[in-house]
Amino acid sequence: MTALVLLASCTGGTPEATESSTATVVVTPTPIPTPTPSASADVTVKPSRPAALDEPPSVDGAVEVGTYFQLLFPYVFATGDLSDWNTLSHPDCLYCAGVTSDVQTMFQSGNHTVGGAFDVTKTSGGEVDPGAWYTVTVHLVQSPSETVNSQGGVVESFPETKSGVVDLAVIWSDGAWRIREATPTADAQS
């Protein structure tokens, strides 16, 4: 709305402007402020693999695995490397499959994400079925990000810092951890 008011008053003040010059003003996009990606994390670097992935199941292990899975999120969108993401995804995990599909679509069209690092602020876990089924809750803050094409041009910009919580069902099955399901919920925007 601000853009409309400013431009309208501007053209209103120059009644002699020709149609062509007016049109030129209109189609010039307002510059979008460049988000400042979190300096704390380079999302193109794979998060370090937690020891829990190779250890017997425990609540703490489930929390480590669930947190690692979430930290892979900005990495897969930045790099397209879905190897660990897909290994950890249970075949029935809708959220996991959705991310895989979105990443594949993005990279097939030559795009990738810059920024969007996760800052994990709090985690907790519970043992629903000992040695088999764990609940994990990851509180996180997502930095602003941009979708960028192969020439480096910005396709879409997400300038907001978002915070929220991800509930995960983390299971230990046949000697390996799997993410059975994950449900992200963004905090209400203030």
Binding site: A3, G12, P15, A17, G126, D129, E156, F158
Partner: protein, 293 residues
Amino acid sequence: MNHQRTLAILVLAVTLLIAGSTAQAADNFDGRAKGDAVGISAFVGEQALRSYAHANVPPTEELFQLRRAALCNVTSGALEAEIGGTCAPPDGSVTPNCGDDNPVQPLWRRDRQRPADPWGPWRMITGWACPDDLLPTLTAEDFRLLPIAPQVVQMQPDRGWVLVNKETIVLTDAAEQTFRTDLLGYGVDVIATPTHFTWDFEDGSRQLSTTSPGHPYPAFDVSHVYTDPGAAQTITLTTTWSGRYRVDGDDEWRDVVGTAETTSTSGAFEVVERRSHLVARDCVEDPDQVGCG
């Protein structure tokens, strides 16, 4: 004139900007379809609670306890009587909107190494859930395991032979079939309803797919015309069944996602050709005359 046009273009441009900014963000952490992690964990928790209750270990020998309780934290007000003792900090489980149903309280667990040891703190292992989350789902695989009786293929005419180039009417019974079964320890009522019928007349013609089970003459709506005579012909019916189920204690009928199939075959019949002849007298009375037999 110029101004109006400029404003019109401006409004269009701003509208486009707004439309662009509301596009769903693929790389936003919450920007996609999501499964219900809390709900499926709540179901697993309920199974654990049921087997815990079923085991009925004397309290003095228990190594763990499971309880449902709304709260377990001194800062949040009155403790539930059921769940005294120390508590781990709550992790902020949100009470869901369960429509007409009342939400189910969070599930808590505490452990001890030996019966003589003091109890560890209560920990919330699953948060608030909806009653629906705790019920088992009858899958298509479960549904297909039910002994659905194949339907009977009826024909008109039904006398062991039909006429070539005349309509052969087929029909079957559209009745539902009901079952009583067990699903993860829950009693379940299931109703199977035939919804699609695929008729194979086995004469090389295309299969006929109908939503009608067929009706008898004269209001028949499923039929086939055989164009060539043949012996020992049969008709095969493949019926597609949809399912509904109701778990004991729940008053809602839920749809099975997926279908089952049964296959039935008619009795063998002959497709025959009949020619008409003018005769002088009734062929029954005088079968040897010209044109009879």
